[in-house]
């Protein structure tokens, strides 16, 4: 799991016109992981994928995949990488099975109808194998693109916004497909706007904005380090000051003494424990309460907070 299969060093891309889409990006992807690359529109996610997959020429920096330098030994590296693009780009007049077989041949592999059948069945496309792609629904077209990307049995798969524009049910179906691929040992790098998706699927998360990789960490570690618990305790009777027993907690009096607000913890559950301890102190002190609202911060909160800090610094 810790073996690096993709290493980016000092990767930069400046488009003609001066737009710096990637700014000195260093990133290592480990075998077998699901890595979620999060960022707002125009952050550089698709450029990063394009640079690795050969669609974008980096301005500077190096890319090594499976130990091969992508600048000099790109054939060996590319044969092990699959790409599912964001746009539904495929030859709409072709039948599904022929489009998938073409992808396999394009990557230099011998025809293998049994393997193509296995891929199409795993994506629930076997019944549609003879249909022209133009006749399929949007979700099915997306699955055809995944089938095409899997046709040459890649070890590393890029999914660029795999669930963009699909409904909740299809999105859940797509998550199941990603799970299947992980079980097969495919390393996956996905970009997404849906933080929930990253929270659910990813082992590690990278946050990118304006071409800069702001943070890369294990999802759990990121949540633990940057996560917070927020609790609001509604009191039956207003209080003027906190009892001394609560002084050691990060707690404030709000709404004219009718509510206590706790902001603390670290995303590992310590915050919930402290809230429970606070309620015990309140009971012991004879302070009655009518309700408790506890909320753990999500990856989305962390994401928004990080981007906010970055934008403040940039300003």
């Amino acid at each position: 799991m810790n073996e690096p299969i993709l290493e980016l060093e000092g990767l930069s891309k400046v488009y003609p016109g001066g737009l710096k889409a990637l700014d000195n990006v260093d990133l290592t992807i480990r075998r077998g992981e699901i890595f979620a690359l999060l960022g707002p529109n125009g952050a550089g996610k698709t450029t990063l994928i394009g640079a690795v997959c050969g669609l974008v020429r980096p301005t500077s920096g190096s890319i090594r995949a499976f130990g091969h330098d992508m600048a000099s030994d790109w054939r060996k590296a590319r044969s092990r990488i699959g790409l599912v693009p964001q746009e539904l780009s495929t030859d709409m007049f072709e039948p599904v099975h022929r489009a998938v077989a073409y992808s396999r041949g394009l990557f230099g592999l011998a025809p293998d109808p049994a393997r193509i059948e296995e891929i199409l069945r795993s994506l629930s496309l076997w019944d549609k194998k003879d249909e022209r792609i133009m006749a399929l629904s949007g979700g099915m077209k997306r699955r055809v693109l995944i089938a095409k990307a899997l046709a040459h049995e890649p070890d590393l798969l890029f999914l660029d916004e795999p669930t963009a524009g699909v409904d909740v049910e299809l999105r859940k179906g797509m998550w199941a497909i990603i799970d299947q691929m992980r079980d097969r040992g495919v390393t996956i790098i996905l970009t997404t706007h849906y933080i929930e998706e990253a929270e659910l699927m990813a082992d590690r998360v990278g946050i990118i904005d304006r071409g800069k990789l702001l943070m890369v960490d294990e999802k759990e570690a990121m949540m633990a380090r940057l996560g917070r618990t927020e609790a609001h305790i509604s009191l039956s009777t207003p209080i003027a000051a906190l009892p001394p027993a609560l002084a050691r907690y990060p707690i404030e009096i709000e709404e004219g003494g009718t509510s206590l607000c706790y902001r603390g913890g670290d995303g590992t559950g310590r915050g919930k424990q402290e809230v429970a301890d606070i309620t015990k102190v309140l009971i012991a002190e004879g302070i009655d309460y009518t309700g408790i609202d506890v909320r753990e911060s999500s990856l989305e909160d962390i994401f928004v907070s990080l981007l906010g800090e970055e934008q403040e610094q940039a300003a």
Partner: protein
């Protein structure tokens, strides 16, 4: 090292695209050639003298062949690479372990194959209207293949250069077809008065039509070696441009 499986995949896919529209692809040149023979061969040709000892109907066959060959080859090849750029499917080609050799042999080979099929169809159609024989059949096939290769490469460049359908059609429509018509398709440039016979020699298509005509009838307006030389030079120039395009990624990679 060339990835032959990748090459074969591109080649067969391009041919499948041709077969999807086979009816139109085959019928159009048959109909056009028939119309030319009816108008120029039967209606007008009957009143024309022999040209260099060749019946006028037979004289125009190499020119008509070249007219269709240049148009169809350029169009097939340019559409072949432009459409993936237009629809976005080119991502797959660019992210695959294929280089300039596989891409060119695949796309250009398919365009050449289509052109050779069309050439055969035109020759068979011509036979229905005119009695003719080919003096140097092997040289004729070689010459047709050379021209098809050169204009497939030219079409490929056009398909990469064009960023809209108008540009894709403008070069064949505004340059290729007029130059072919003025390049001795229907006449020998000897028939032109001064200074037009000299000016006509500035038209590169004259050399192509003349070269093919020589392989058919053993005589032509221009020396056959000059025709071969110009065709090979055009082929080399197009190959050089494509090598530059792939090296720099111009209009292919961002």
């Amino acid at each position: 090292m060339i990835g032959w499986r990748s090459t074969w995949s591109i080649y067969t896919r391009e041919l499948m695209r041709f077969l999807r529209t086979a009816f139109q692809s085959v019928l159009a040149p048959v109909l056009t050639t028939s119309l030319y023979f009816i108008v120029f061969g039967a209606a007008i040709g009957g009143r024309m003298p022999d040209l260099g000892g060749v019946d006028y109907g037979a004289f125009i066959i190499p020119g008509l062949l070249m007219l269709t060959l240049l148009g169809e080859t350029t169009s097939n090849s340019s559409f072949g690479i432009y459409m993936p750029r237009f629809t976005g499917t080119i991502y797959e080609l660019l992210s695959a372990p294929v280089g300039v050799a596989e891409t060119l042999i695949g796309f250009v080979g398919a365009a050449m194959t289509k052109s050779l099929i069309l050439a055969a169809i035109i020759l068979v159609t011509a036979r229905l209207f005119v009695d003719y024989s080919i003096a140097y059949p092997l040289l004729a096939v070689l010459y047709i293949m050379l021209v098809a290769a050169a204009f497939s490469l030219f079409g490929f460049i056009l398909g990469i250069w064009a960023d809209n359908f108008e540009k894709l059609g403008i070069i064949p429509m505004l340059f290729l077809t007029p130059l072919t018509f003025l390049g001795g398709t229907f006449y020998s440039i000897d028939m032109l008065p001064e200074p037009w016979d000299t000016i006509a020699l500035a038209n590169p298509i004259v050399y192509l039509v003349s070269g093919l005509r020589w392989t058919f009838y053993g005589s032509s307006d221009v020396n056959i070696w000059i025709s071969f030389g110009i065709t090979l030079a055009f082929l080399a120039a197009c190959t050089g441009v494509i090598a530059y395009i792939f090296k720099t990624g111009w209009r292919l990679r961002a």
